[in-house]
């Protein structure tokens, strides 16, 4: 007996079905952005004690005003308003200065050791201030540059001590598939963080 061939299924409408599904997914889904600059807000203190006095030379005040101009109030900065591109270099110069002596000396800093600038990265504070009318985009740009300054210094020290970038270490630490010793990695990260703590304060805007 001759084999009866199965009737062929018409696949002509397959494309239509697939298009329908495709359009459904295009409409109902979005490409999510899930990365950003992480920050920690300072808690509200109930009883306002005077904060411990900071030496003026250890504070690097960055002000972004309503006209999107960046002013930096610190001895090492001569020209104002400042360009965004120069901000990172100046912040690095300030943080890495290491002008302290004795207890406050910084043995890993590579700065000039200017007496008028910060004593030690542990003491150095960057204060970011803004007006109420400052645009958010500009604020983020400045914030980004300041974080970049910290990351640059941390990367440098991590390279020197462990021959690996700090940002790479952090990425590895968050990666659930990381195979190495996580506790050791955490220790290393903490050490670098202690060397260059991110003291970036976001003040409330002036009214």
């Amino acid at each position: 007996m001759a084999k009866r061939s199965a009737p062929e299924v018409n696949a002509g409408s397959m494309a239509d079905i697939a298009f329908l599904l495709l359009i459904f997914f295009l409409v109902t889904t979005t490409i999510e952005t899930d990365s950003g600059i992480s920050r920690k807000l300072p808690p509200i203190e109930e009883n306002k004690e005077d904060p411990p006095p900071l030496k003026e030379k250890n504070i690097f005040i960055v002000l972004v005003n309503a006209n999107e101009e960046i002013f930096v109030d610190h001895h090492i900065v001569k020209e104002n308003p400042m360009k965004l591109e120069d901000l990172r270099a100046k912040a690095v110069e300030f943080l890495d200065n290491g002008g302290g002596t004795g207890d406050e000396a910084c043995n890993y800093c590579q700065g000039t050791g200017d007496q008028e600038s910060s004593d030690n990265p542990v003491k150095a504070v960057i204060s970011l201030q803004n007006d109420r009318l400052t645009e958010y985009g500009t604020y983020i740009a400045v914030q980004n540059e300041l974080v970049a300054a910290y990351n640059q210094l941390r990367n440098r020290e991590a390279q020197r001590l462990y021959q690996v970038d700090f940002t790479e270490m952090e990425k590895a630490f968050k990666d659930p598939n990381y195979t190495g010793d996580k506790d050791k990695l955490k220790e290393k990260i903490e050490k670098i963080k202690d060397m260059y703590p991110q003291k970036l304060s976001e003040a409330e805007p002036k009214k």
Partner: protein, 160 residues
């Protein structure tokens, strides 16, 4: 010989569309993999600023989203063009933020509450005044871990 002459008629042969479903399926799978389902419909303009020193948010279920920006064009007749806050699917007042945080906390398991992060998805043309108000409310609600959600890119693009 006539066997081979059968189809040699006039006219151009039609293009085979047999592989069209394959191509469309490929596109479909691409979109299924790289996108996620929308959980809120945005009612505000939300063009995020750029930054390159970014960290990735890991656990999606532990993120609370706060959106802010000018109302989308179709809501502008009703709500004007002043930048507003959006929580979940609706516009909200600044003072609603605390309540929102508490609600989100309640919906999570207790031991996970301390890992909650607030992601601020703010349009880049928003004034910092609004953002500061949001931050102030978050401080009051003790939701101190925040993340300014940004697109990957050079920060100087924000100034244009």
């Amino acid at each position: 010989m006539s066997k081979f002459k059968k189809n040699k008629g006039g006219g151009t042969p039609g293009i085979s569309t047999a592989s069209l479903p394959d191509i469309v399926f490929m596109l479909l799978f691409f979109f299924m993999v790289v996108t996620v389902m929308r959980d809120t419909s945005l009612k505000v303009k939300n063009i995020l600023p750029f930054a390159d020193q970014v960290e990735k948010l890991e656990k999606k279920d532990l993120v609370m989203y706060i959106y802010a920006g000018k109302p989308s064009p179709r809501y502008q007749d009703q709500y004007g063009t002043e930048a507003r806050v959006q929580l979940n699917d609706n516009y909200a007042k600044i003072s609603d933020i605390q309540q929102f945080i508490y609600q989100e906390r309640q919906s999570k398991r207790e031991e996970l509450v301390k890992y909650l992060i607030t992601a601020l998805k703010v349009d880049k043309e928003t004034n910092m005044g609004l953002v500061s108000d949001i931050k102030q409310e978050l401080r009051k609600a003790e939701a101190l871990k925040i993340n300014y959600t940004t697109k990957q890119g050079d920060a100087s693009l924000n100034l244009e």
